[in-house]
């Protein structure tokens, strides 16, 4: 066919066109992925600055840097921005967009215009929340009623912003589900799919099914504040516990919206740098779906002390332990994949190993919170803060950084400085543990979370945690500079620098506009490392 020969000689990378319009009007999934990447990275850094300010205030027991109200605003913004603007859209929208069509051998997602629309909705949501900063909310990212219904800060705007973001999430999920069902290249059967695709699929299902619930909940809260309708305020005949049930019915699955894509990333990185097929492919693939399903049934484990019935607490504790099983299986599988491998400790691989290590700590400490008796003591203390950050940073953010370093050459066609990347990794790894590990002890000793001031007996561990946050912040700073420097004047990247077998590495870096000159025919799964030809 004639046009094929033409395409052969004229390789036009998708980054070729310049100018702002070529970005903001582009329906190319790769460009949309990059726009998401830039947006979420920006919000990650903003929320990270809030984190450093929070920790700075907590260096000493008294309020000597900011007043309690300001502290409360800081942790509300830190938590809300990290959760709703960075980590929930996060990997799913940025790497999901970039990689799904490339990995399944498709020219684009199923609905490219809808995809661009989703991004615009995301931006709209962020703008609304920026407006809300004029009188920032002080409710915490959980917006618990009745406080959120009565505080005189601007709760309506921020929840409205999150409500709008929800649509972006739902539409992206929908788009990915259809793409994965309908656009796989010939021969790309379900059992040949890369695990990142399985993870994205499970995530998309969660986004589609769970997000509407938080949307409605926030809408009810807005109605309560503006119209005085009593859904949650007992003074108006409402029920504050109902809000928590609604909120966690979304937000618990949301935890998996955050973490499952990262698990997918780890399942891609480890085989490549160990040159081994992933161990227990089907167990990993189906456990993603299993986790997604069970995650709808465990929400009340955030509410053991809230006044729900003892029977409910017992059932939810049991279901919570069920979710631990598929999670543990994944950790074992990743570890086993290394066995007899040929392991290259590239910076992406270091992030993947850090993920397995830190996520194991995050997961195991979850057991303390799943068991009823111990949760009563630890709930709403720094133990929870530590556990949550081990899962979110130790898990998702490590996955995110790993993905950044792994696919960087493919996205941008440039290389970054590998030595600097490793140094940054070391700072991040050490800083993270110094920041958050002491918090497990603080929690066991009874230090409650969301405290602007604290009793003097906690001072030594609290200030240690603050010093850790400086090391961590410094590591992230070096990493950012290194990647930006690579972007500006990094060496040209080869097509497949690590010898990966998956499809996205079989096209030039950066990929051409329509991904593949010819839709590939897939004859084997993605993980055939070490297979005798």
């Amino acid at each position: 066919m004639a046009n094929h020969t033409i395409a052969h000689d004229v390789y036009v990378p998708f980054l070729e066109k310049k100018g702002i319009l070529s970005w903001i009007l582009s329906t190319d999934h790769k460009r949309i992925g990059i726009m998401y990447l830039i947006s979420i990275s920006f919000f990650f850094l903003v929320a990270g600055v809030f984190a450093l300010l929070l920790r700075y205030e907590l260096l000493t027991p008294t309020s000597d840097f900011v007043q309690p109200h300001t502290y409360n605003v800081f942790f509300t913004l830190h938590g809300s921005i990290m959760v709703f603007f960075f980590i929930v859209p996060g990997l799913a929208a940025s790497f999901g967009n970039f990689l799904i069509p490339l990995m399944i051998g498709a020219p684009d997602v199923a609905f490219p215009k809808l995809n661009l629309g989703s991004y615009w909705i995301y931006l709209l949501g962020t703008v609304i929340v920026l407006i809300a900063l004029a009188k920032p909310a002080d409710t915490g990212w959980t917006f618990y009623t009745p406080y959120s219904a009565t505080t005189n800060t601007d709760v309506v705007m921020i929840t409205l912003g999150v409500f709008v973001l929800g649509f972006s999430s739902i539409l992206t999920g929908l788009n990915f589900i259809v793409t994965i069902h309908k656009m796989r290249a010939p021969g790309m059967t379900w059992h040949r799919l890369p695990l990142f695709i399985w993870a994205s699929y499970a995530t998309a299902v969660l986004q589609l099914l769970a997000t509407p619930v938080v949307g409605i909940t926030l809408l009810l809260l807005i109605m309560e504040r503006t119209l005085g309708v009593g859904f949650f305020d007992p003074a108006k005949g409402g029920d504050p516990i109902l809000f928590q049930n609604f909120f966690w019915f979304y937000s618990h699955p949301a935890v998996y919206i955050m973490i499952i894509p990262a698990m997918g990333v780890i399942s891609e990185i480890i085989p490549v740098f160990a040159r081994k097929p992933i161990f227990g492919y089907k167990a990993i693939a189906y456990s993603s779906l299993g986790i997604a399903f069970i995650s709808f049934l465990v929400w009340a484990h955030h509410m053991f002390t809230s006044g729900i019935s003892d029977t409910a607490a017992t059932i939810f504790s049991f279901l919570t332990f069920l979710v631990a099983i598929p999670t543990a299986i994944k950790v074992f599988n990743w570890t086993a994949t290394l066995y007899k491998g040929s392991i290259h400790l590239h910076s992406a691989m270091l992030y993947a190993l850090a993920f397995v290590f830190l996520f194991t700590i995050g997961g195991l400490t979850g057991l303390f919170l799943g068991a009823l008796a111990s949760d009563i003591h630890l709930h709403d203390t720094y133990f929870v803060v530590a556990h949550m950050h081990y899962v979110m940073i130790g898990g998702t953010v490590m996955g995110f950084f790993g993905a950044l370093h792994f696919w960087f050459p493919k996205w941008f066609g440039k290389m970054f400085n590998e030595t600097v990347a490793k140094i940054a990794w070391l700072f991040i790894f050490i800083g993270f543990n110094v920041t958050f590990f002491p918090q497990f002890f603080l929690g066991v000793q009874g230090m409650p979370r969301r405290y602007a001031t604290y009793p003097a007996e906690f001072e030594s561990l609290m200030s240690l945690s603050t010093y850790g946050s400086w090391i961590l912040g410094f590591g992230i700073f070096i990493m950012t500079i290194n990647l930006i420097a690579g972007l500006i004047n990094g060496e040209k990247a080869p097509q497949n620098p690590y010898g990966s077998l998956s499809l996205e590495w079989q096209v030039p870096s950066p990929p051409p506009l329509e991904n593949f000159e010819e839709i590939p025919h897939v004859t084997d799964w993605t993980y055939g490392y070490g297979k005798k030809k």
């Binding site: 002390t305 017992t314 332990f321 099983i325 290394l338 290590f357 009563i376 709403d380 969301r450 070490g530």
Partner: protein, 312 residues
């Protein structure tokens, strides 16, 4: 540094049992995974670019083993946690009952004998106590680390909590559910008394009357409010310094503020300090006082001023 707060209630040792078992199991898994991970990462480091690797895709026996064993352990943990939880939720018939109200940002305790305290809960050693709790405004959570108990207070519904204190002494009460600006200042103490001391406390000071206080002379009413509304937790009347400045002899004098300026202590200053405590903070003190807006009325403030005037 201690690992865990003092064991000060009957429930604490049980909860610690659960904590200990989970800690041990977690440590076993954690150490195992870490050792294997690090060992593999070192042993199988890539030495040559063209190294061959075996094609291993899984192992059914292994996968069954590492699914079944953790599942069994998890069920054991669940059951253990549940058994202790049941104890924590089942108060004995003969418990002493105390009603707890949480509001921004203090605790009030009403006892069976009509006594009432703020931010200090008096209980007797080795005698079970059942707290019946309600919040006045937003969610709060009653948390005593030394007792390993925690329960949210919810507006519009009662929740309960029980424990048997086993150690004489005072123990921290924290508010563990975020409740607004003064959340981290919503602190209290449980005072555990010996049976003898408890008897004296029980019979000692006259029980407060509650309603009808409005008919008292202003200075007396002020004193009552001072004690009932928790001012006494932070401000002494004998010149000693607690969390806040003492009230003794301040009226009519001037005080130095944080920014170096001075202000005369008059009616307006007292009122502002009660309603907007952060506006003018006395030098040397942390701005931790919660606002009493909505808790105290203007008449209450007038009474308090009258009372403070008497403290020469």
């Amino acid at each position: 540094m201690t690992w865990i707060p003092e064991v000060a209630s009957n429930l604490a040792s049980k909860v610690d049992g659960v904590l200990l078992l989970i800690t041990l199991l977690s440590l076993v898994f954690f150490i195992l995974i870490t050792i294997v991970l690090v060992y593999f990462a070192i042993k199988y480091r890539r030495k040559r670019e063209d190294e061959e690797t075996p094609y291993i895709t899984g192992s059914e026996p292994l996968e069954i083993i590492w699914t079944v064993i953790p599942s069994i352990l998890l069920i054991v943990l669940f059951i253990y946690g549940f058994v202790v939880f049941k104890d924590m939720r089942t108060p004995p018939e003969d418990s002493v009952e105390v009603t707890v109200q949480g509001k921004q940002w203090l605790w009030t305790f009403d006892y069976y004998n009509g006594k009432k305290t703020i931010n200090e809960l008096y209980v007797q050693q080795n005698r079970p106590v059942r707290l019946v709790m309600e919040a006045q405004d937003v969610l709060h959570s009653f948390f005593v680390p030394g007792f390993r108990v925690k329960q949210d207070l919810v507006p519009g519904r009662y929740t309960q909590l029980w424990f048997t204190p086993t150690k004489i002494g005072t123990f921290d009460i924290f508010c563990a559910e975020y409740c607004g600006t003064g959340h981290s200042a919503m602190l209290g103490k449980v005072v555990v008394l010996s049976p003898e001391a408890y008897e004296i406390w029980e019979k000692g000071v006259k029980a407060e009357e509650g309603a009808g206080v409005a008919s008292l002379p202003p200075a007396e009413l002020g004193e009552k409010i001072y004690k009932e509304k928790g001012c006494n937790a932070c401000h002494s009347v004998d010149g000693s310094t607690l969390v806040g400045p003492s009230f003794k002899g301040i009226f009519g004098h001037s005080v130095e503020l944080q920014d170096g300026s001075t202000v005369d202590v008059d009616e307006n200053y007292v009122k502002q300090s009660i309603f907007e405590p952060q506006a003018q903070v006395v030098k040397g003190f942390a701005p931790v006082m919660p606002s009493f807006k909505g808790i105290l009325s203007d008449e209450d403030v007038t009474a308090l001023v009258a009372y403070i005037k008497t403290l020469k």
